[in-house]
């Protein structure tokens, strides 16, 4: 059911349903933006969905040297998990394996002053085999871990914030090419401060439903209602007439407002880029604390 139209785009009368999550922001710096990017891409790899990856992470944005603690080019990364302990475990694994290992990098807490924190360098320092050293600089503790290149510098702890995970838009068009072009444009418009789009290129083509029709043990299975090839095979298809492909953009954000505004940017950009239908995924409204009705996104950003 269409709530309203934006040009050629039908916007469904529905809402996205999202959940409270905890997140950390890491600032990865390096001798060049390219190296910081290598570390950030590695650290945010295999982090698309908490169901399968235990966390969701993505590059937030590039930082110029005057925005980073050590005055070098940097990349801000957001990592989301269901609780603070989860955030703590995942950042130690990922910084240890993907940032410490990457040439020339240093890793800083991107939420200084946060009320709740988790150990970062305080755990990773043990890699230093007691050759590590700490420095308190401007009231914050850092660890210097000797490595083959020289030293890896890492913040002692990382702040943990309360964010929102699972905001989404589903973008459809007549062909897979036009749907993907619209989704890609939307994802680009949605990225920015406070936003992580954890799927490849920000886009997921295999959106899921909770559970499965044929198994009790599967936590998730294909969203058959939005699979165009099943349109004539199932009785509850949600694929609109004339839609040949649908893509979902999942949004994790540092606040409800950040997610809502990203969805607004995405919706209007997708409409301008040729999407014929935009809808959103939810679980009937009973599971998620946050609801984002598409009707509330009618005004352009």
């Amino acid at each position: 059911m269409s709530a309203y139209t934006l040009g050629v785009t039908d916007v469904a009368d529905t809402f996205a349903e999202a959940f409270p999550m905890r997140f950390a922001r890491l600032v990865i710096t390096a001798v060049s933006e390219a190296w910081a990017h290598e570390a950030a891409r590695s650290a945010t790899g295999f982090a698309t969905s908490v169901i399968g990856c235990k966390c969701e992470a993505a590059i937030e944005r590039a930082l110029s040297p005057d925005e980073t603690p050590d005055g070098r080019p940097g990349i801000a990364v957001l990592l989301f998990a269901m609780d603070r302990e989860g955030v703590g475990k995942r950042i130690v694994e990922r910084v240890g394996q993907c940032v410490m290992t990457c040439p020339t990098t240093a890793c800083f807490d991107g939420l200084p002053g946060a009320e709740r924190t988790v150990a970062l360098g305080a755990t990773l320092r043990h890699f230093g085999d007691r050759f590590q050293a700490s420095k308190v600089i401007a009231g914050r503790r850092f660890w210097r871990i000797p490595v083959m290149e020289g030293e890896f510098l890492v913040s002692d702890s990382a702040g943990v914030g309360q964010g929102v995970g699972g905001g989404n838009l589903v973008i459809g068009a007549g062909s897979d090419e036009s749907a993907l072009a619209a989704a890609r444009a939307a994802a680009q418009a949605m990225r920015g401060e406070g936003i992580a789009l954890p799927f490849p290129g920000g886009i997921v083509r295999s959106g899921s439903k909770v559970g499965a029709l044929t198994s009790k043990s599967m936590p998730a299975s294909t969203n058959h209602q939005m699979a165009p090839t099943l349109r004539a095979q199932v009785t509850d298809s949600l694929v609109p007439e004339g839609v040949g492909a649908m893509f979902e953009i999942v949004i994790d954000g540092v606040s409800e407002e950040a997610v809502r505004e990203a969805m607004r940017r995405g919706l209007h950009t997708a409409a301008a880029a040729g999407a014929t239908h935009v809808t959103a995924a939810n679980f009937g409204g009973k599971l998620g604390e946050f609801h984002f009705p598409l009707d509330g996104l009618r005004d352009p950003p």
Binding site: P69, D70, G71, A106, A133, K135, V136, I137, A138, F142, R144, G150, E151, F152, L153
Partner: protein, 257 residues
């Protein structure tokens, strides 16, 4: 307005000035500030007899001292919070055994800057001291944590028996620095000769030092870009102690890494 004490007459002798700290004076009214007694040689003088007081009564955790305070010893000694900015030279023991806060001296500092008192094993345990000019002998002696950064040179024996923490001398560290150093960092922005109990390790770009130098710049000292981006020689010592300390020495004549 910040509490400001401007020296108006030269004291007849050396003055014990540890009372000149924000935690002692901020929030007091002008007459209470002027009435604070200071030891001067064998006598006691009222603060108001030596200084013009302005901005008293403000709850801000900061104060300014102006004038030639080279006869004032122990400015900021033992301070745990707040900011003292000195516009002029200071005497010995400035910031001795301080545990927190910031002491900024735009001038020269005397001996034992941020040091441990005689007989004490531990000196400074936190906080930051920056000096735009030179510092006297044994700056940072016994330091356990914190930062002493000097825009000029330090005198002989900087970082004597230091446990940890950082002493930076942007224009060069004096002779015999780091004797008995356990885990501390001594940083010389110009060529320096380490003690024989230090051993050369390598030349590298220390990422932690870069962060510290940026902090020093933020605190008001002029730090050349070359120091931030260049390579530093690392000497490990003092091997007669734990040997986990370091001396980082910048030498532009050695060329790029």
């Amino acid at each position: 307005m910040t509490l400001t004490l401007t020296l108006n007459s030269k004291p007849p002798g050396r003055v014990l000035a540890a009372a000149l700290s924000p935690e002692r004076l901020c929030g007091l009214n002008a007459s209470a500030v002027a009435g604070v007694e200071l030891r001067c040689g064998g006598e006691t003088v009222a603060l108001g007899d030596l200084f013009d007081v302005s901005g008293a009564g403000v709850e801000e955790d900061a104060m300014v001292l102006a004038g030639d305070l080279s006869r004032f010893d122990g400015i900021g000694a033992g301070m745990s919070r707040g900011v003292i900015e000195v516009r002029g030279d200071v005497g010995a023991w400035s910031g001795a055994e301080m545990s927190g806060g910031v002491l900024r001296i735009f001038g020269n500092a005397g001996a034992r800057l941020g040091a441990a008192y005689p007989g004490a094993r531990v000196g400074m345990t936190g906080g930051e001291i920056v000096v735009s000019g030179d510092a006297g002998e044994e700056a940072g002696a016994g330091m356990r944590r914190g930062l002493v950064a000097v825009g000029g040179r330090t005198g002989n024996g900087a970082g004597l028996r230091m446990l940890a923490g950082t002493v930076i001398a942007l224009s060069g560290i004096g002779e015999e620095a780091g004797l008995g150093n356990r885990r501390g960092s001594l940083v010389s922005g110009r060529a320096a000769r380490p003690l024989p109990s230090y051993a050369f390790a390598t030349r590298f770009r220390p990422p932690g030092l870069r962060l510290q130098l940026l902090r020093v710049r933020e605190l008001g000292l002029s730090v050349r870009d070359g120091l931030l981006d260049g390579s530093w020689a690392r000497w490990s010592g003092d091997v007669t102690e734990l040997g986990r300390g370091e001396m980082l020495i910048f030498n532009e004549e050695e060329g790029p890494l």
